[in-house]
């Protein structure tokens, strides 16, 4: 025998097989790259599967809360995560439990439309504003009578409460600052500007949650005004179309986002309000006026409600929507709310319903097992890694749209192209520099109060605000 030393692979099966049937299977790993070929191609395939599965599971609709009338206002409960307040056009104010989808409390709050509901920062009361020129404060204890009532001489369209001080601001014919303890407004912010009708109505007002003394308003004469309660008005910006709703980014205090009548949503940087960089992003996608907007508590995303019967979700940094929610029976959406736990979106529409949607359409509800969680994270990472591949992009970006949105989108595309072509032609055939290039983001902004030429009557076409889709927007104005 000339063998000095011999060693042959001889495995003991007991080390590789489970002992009993109740055990889990043993899995030996060897991360040697040679044993794992086609790493990139297999990952790509997994990413493709992940994107497809996301589409398969994209079922965002959870349920609806049925009302007896068109829903006009929606608000968070000041202290409970699972509850919301809704208001209808015939003056009812309702408290709903989202988890059970049951109504908990109901009161005939106003004669006529409930314009706005706002939770008070003390956590046990809330304010409502109605078409009957009253502001009411309700206690959260089950009483059907308001604890406080303020009478106004004109209709109040919106209300916003200071983050921590006992003050609130209302708007309507005038923008008024109230103290909770007194029955008369503390300050009135009247600022009739040149060219504006003095009876212009302010439609929305919103306190900043971070810079607590700053608030903004939008009115019927297309102004976006910034105020500071410590001083007077700060800035007044003229837009080419009316602003319907405002929201402050809860994480980046300087970002103010406005839902506009011209189908777009504008994000402003209030630090740069004076110069051309004030519009940070124009969020496009809706095919009719945008009626309401609400930020996610993370400040990364916001959702918008629109007259085109859809709700869209935008990322703050992206110009086009991440997702669009629509329903067969959903009509014009009046108000929208992003839940505080960042999981749900609620939309109140004129078909007497508040719909509950998932914020992430394909998210699995309920508690995830650890393996599910890691699989989800892995899939997310794969989508990040390979998401830009054409095959994946196509699947990921595809959204089924109802016919009216699809057609309107196509039409707007054609209109925009035609306008761009016309402008280019005009530029070719005129003196160099006579038709300047205006960046898209600056087109729908007419200018600051000081910048506006005082003689003009603010027709958007005169002031160089020939923005994309502006002309046809005006036709839709009275929708």
């Amino acid at each position: 025998m000339s063998i000095k030393k011999i060693n042959v692979i001889s495995r003991n099966p007991d080390q590789y097989l489970r002992e009993t049937k109740r055990d889990i299977h043993k899995v030996q790993r060897n991360y040697d790259p040679d044993l794992h070929p086609f790493e990139a191609a297999r990952e790509y395939k997994l990413a493709l599967n992940a994107v497809k599965l996301e589409k398969v599971f994209a079922k965002p609709f959870i349920g609806s809360l049925t009302h007896t009338e068109e829903v006009s206002a929606i608000s968070r409960h000041p202290s409970r995560l699972s509850c919301i307040f809704t208001g209808t056009v015939d003056g009812e104010v309702l408290l709903w439990n989202i988890a059970t989808q049951k109504r908990q409390w109901q009161v005939q709050g106003h004669n006529g439309k409930v314009w706005c509901i706002v939770g008070a920062p003390d956590g046990n009361s809330f304010f409502t504003v109605g078409n009957d020129k009253t502001i009411k404060r309700w206690s959260l204890e089950d009483s059907d009578l308001p604890t406080d009532t303020w009478l106004c001489d004109t209709i109040v369209t919106s209300l916003t409460h200071h983050r921590y001080r006992q003050e609130f601001v209302t708007c309507g014919q005038r923008v008024l600052l109230w103290d909770v303890g007194t029955k008369a407004p503390k300050t009135s912010y009247d600022w009739t500007t040149t060219g504006d009708r003095s009876d212009t109505t302010t439609t929305c007002v919103k306190f900043s949650p971070v810079q607590a003394d700053v608030f903004a308003s939008g009115d019927h004469s297309n102004n976006l005004v910034l105020y500071d309660t410590r001083a007077r008005e700060v800035k007044k910006l003229k837009m080419s179309m009316r602003i319907n709703s405002l929201a402050w980014n809860p994480m980046e205090a300087f970002i103010l986002t406005a839902a506009s009548e011209d189908y777009n949503v504008y994000s402003f940087d209030i630090r740069n309000f004076d110069n051309k960089g004030r519009v940070v992003c124009v969020h496009e996608g809706h095919t009719s006026a945008v009626t309401d907007i609400d930020y996610a508590p993370t400040g990364r995303e916001f959702c918008t409600a629109s007259f085109d019967k859809s709700v869209r979700i935008f990322r703050t940094t992206e110009a086009h929507s991440r997702d669009v929610y629509h329903g067969k029976r959903m009509f014009r959406v009046n108000c929208v709310l992003w839940s505080t736990d960042n999981k749900y979106i609620l939309s109140g529409s004129s078909d007497h319903n508040v719909r509950i949607w998932k914020a992430q359409a394909s998210e699995k509800m309920g508690i995830l097992a650890p393996r599910e969680k890691s699989a989800k994270n892995y899939n997310e990472e794969l989508k990040n890694k390979f998401g830009h591949f054409p095959e994946l992009r196509r699947i990921n970006h595809h959204r089924h749209l109802p016919k009216h949105i699809y057609n309107a989108k196509k039409e707007h595309r054609a209109i925009k192209d035609a306008q761009a072509r016309k402008e280019a032609n005009r530029r070719i055939h005129s003196r160099p520099g006579a038709v300047p290039f205006i960046p898209f983001q600056q087109r729908s902004v007419v200018g600051l109060q000081d910048e506006i030429p005082s003689t003009s009557g603010f027709s958007p076409n005169q002031s160089g605000g020939v923005g994309g889709g502006d002309e046809d927007d005006e036709e839709e104005d009275d929708m």
């Binding site: 000339s2 063998i3 030393k5 011999i6 097989l17 030996q28 060897n30 044993l35």
Partner: protein, 586 residues
């Protein structure tokens, strides 16, 4: 951190403030004490008090040294590439740089963690050493079977089978074996437990056999067509699209059954759909020698002219052709990592090539005869068969294989052989049967259960099958470099040339113009046609004019250099030179 007072290090359990206090105290008070553990002692007199400071060396300071540093060589094995150089993003784009940096860090961490798992591997690789003065090649299978334990000895066995010559194939997990005899004998069995799955005679010649993705199905290339049988020997499919096949290969990650035929056709068949991906003629004659490269799923074929060609289903031409031998190629094999290729030819040479850089051979060895079979093992042993002799070489890749590692004389001419994955076994099939030889050090001792598990259970196999089908790699991703999918798409020279040629040779655009209807006799068909023709010709001319300008601009830089050469000062006698023909213009 390196500078501490003597007592500073002692206060491990005391609170932080106490620690500081001690430190301060001893900064002024410790005199004359000089423990030897501390190097760098510094003494000075301050305010009449001698102060001694000790500086700790870094080594002593580390009470918790952290995890063991991974061997850089090991890291190299698990390396995922160089990574991105962050400089190219410029200093301004700091967010992108930060992101890239984080990503790189993650990748490095993954590499390191993978390298650390090496210590958890339980099994060790096989080895064989001979007494001094003798060679391992002199050790016979008989000796080895005597020396090893009883279960391993049972793995070396011989089968006398009458229907030879035989072809054979192991499953990827090395557990099952299929044998196909030329005279129609088809047998599948678990060769470890010697449990027979099926044994039939297909009553036709069998040219090659191949497992599909599990041991449940196998393909046999018979006289006319390829048949698929299941574990019980039931004929599942007859693939008439694959006719007169000589060699079969299965690409496990793509689920493609590849075949090469007598008429020189290559075909790829998707077994999940039963559909042919592509079939085309190679125009190289009968293809008897074919193997797959497990690294990139490219098929390598050997030809009688001494060339080796590589084929993917995405191109009807060979993606690579290499002249390997001056005589016909007889066998090819690519090692499981896909780095090396071995070819043998009738010129009695075995050549080792770098399969990713096929320009030059790494090593070549001269054999006494031309080898008819060549196979790599997982640990890069190389087996070659010369008639009825099998020789196994070690270190062929490093060039140190002057003598054979092991030899074996079979009782018939060896027709096929394969190293069993994850075992130290070489299976050889001959004219007279099959035998499995124990070759210590051939197989990878540690398998990865999620890729190939010899001990897989029934439910495990079912689950693995579903997962494998879900991650079936699309056949259009088969390229020479399998990482193309994750890389930046840089246009090749050919693509650039094509793009340029496209600019040069433009086609007239088709103009779709319907003339408007006009009153007063102007819309007769002749008038209409004239108007249409005019618009058409005008537009086409304009287009061609623009194209011509573009082309001239493109060609100007190339022609400039030519004209310069022609602008030599003409001499008197030049007139007698033969006249140049007028150059054709594009």
């Amino acid at each position: 951190m390196g500078k501490f007072n003597k007592m500073g290090r002692g206060g491990g359990s005391s609170s932080n403030s106490h620690w500081n206090q001690q430190q301060q105290q001893h900064k002024f008070k410790s005199k004359g004490m000089k423990p030897e553990r501390y190097s760098n002692v510094k003494c000075e007199v301050k305010d009449g008090v001698m102060v001694t400071e000790y500086t700790l060396s870094r080594k002593q300071l580390k009470r918790f040294p952290g995890r063991k540093v991974v061997d850089p060589k090991l890291l190299q094995k698990y390396s995922k590439g160089e990574g991105v150089q962050q400089k190219i993003y410029g200093r301004k784009n700091s967010i992108l740089r930060h992101k890239m940096k984080k990503k790189e860090e993650k990748i490095h961490q993954a590499e390191e963690e993978a390298a650390r798992t090496e210590t958890l591997l339980t099994e060790s690789s096989g080895l064989l050493e001979a007494e001094e003065g003798t060679y391992t090649a002199h050790i016979t299978q008989k000796d080895i079977r005597k020396a090893v334990d009883i279960t391993t000895a049972a793995k070396g066995f011989d089968l006398q089978l009458p229907f030879g010559p035989y072809k054979m194939r192991f499953t990827p997990n090395g557990r099952h074996l299929v044998l196909g005899g030329r005279k129609g004998h088809l047998a599948a069995f678990d060769w470890v437990t010697k449990k027979l799955h099926t044994e039939i005679n297909v009553m036709e010649s069998i040219h090659d056999v191949c497992w599909l993705h599990t041991e449940q199905m196998m393909a046999a290339a018979q006289k006319e067509w390829v048949y698929i049988y299941d574990n019980q020997g039931t004929e599942l499919h007859c693939l008439k699209k694959l006719d007169r096949v000589l060699k079969l290969e299965f690409l496990p990650y793509h689920f493609l059954l590849c075949s090469s035929s007598e008429s020189g056709f290559l075909s790829w068949l998707d077994v999940t759909l039963g559909k042919e991906v592509i079939q085309f003629p190679t125009r190289k004659g009968r293809i008897e020698i074919m193997c797959q490269n497990p690294y990139n799923a490219v098929l390598c074929c050997g030809h009688a002219k001494g060339t080796v060609t590589m084929w993917t289903p995405n191109k009807k031409e060979a993606v690579m052709t290499v002249l390997c031998h001056p005589r016909p190629v007889k066998a090819i094999d690519v090692d499981p990592s896909g780095r090396y290729m071995a070819t043998t030819g009738l010129d009695r040479m075995v050549k080792i090539w770098d399969s990713r850089n096929m320009g030059e051979q790494l090593h070549s060895y001269l054999l006494p005869h031309g080898a008819m079979n060549v196979k790599f093992s997982q640990k890069n042993l190389l087996a070659v068969s010369l008639g009825n002799v099998v020789e196994v070489f070690k270190d062929v890749i490093t060039g140190g294989a002057s003598k054979s590692y092991m030899t074996h004389k079979a009782d018939g001419i060896v027709t096929d052989m394969q190293f069993c994955p994850y075992e130290d076994i070489l299976g050889i099939s001959t004219y007279k049967g099959y035998s499995s030889l124990i070759i210590p050090g051939a197989g990878e001792p540690n398998f990865d259960a999620l890729e190939a598990n010899p001990y897989i259970s029934l439910s495990g196999r079912r689950e693995a099958e579903v997962k494998a089908v879900l991650t079936k790699v699309p056949s259009n991703l088969i390229t020479l470099d399998p990482f193309t999918i994750g890389q930046v798409d840089v246009p090749t020279l050919q693509e650039k040339v094509d793009a340029k040629a496209k600019l040069i040779h433009v086609k007239k655009p088709e103009i779709d113009f319907t003339p408007r209807y006009r009153m007063k006799g102007k819309s007769g068909s002749a008038q209409k046609f004239k108007r249409k023709q005019k618009v058409k010709v005008d537009q086409q001319r304009e287009y061609l004019k623009a194209a011509k300008e573009q082309r001239e601009a493109l060609l100007s830089d190339t022609t400039d250099s030519k004209t310069k050469q022609d602008d030599k000062p003409s001499e008197v006698l030049d007139r007698f030179k033969p006249k140049k023909k007028a150059q054709k213009k594009n």
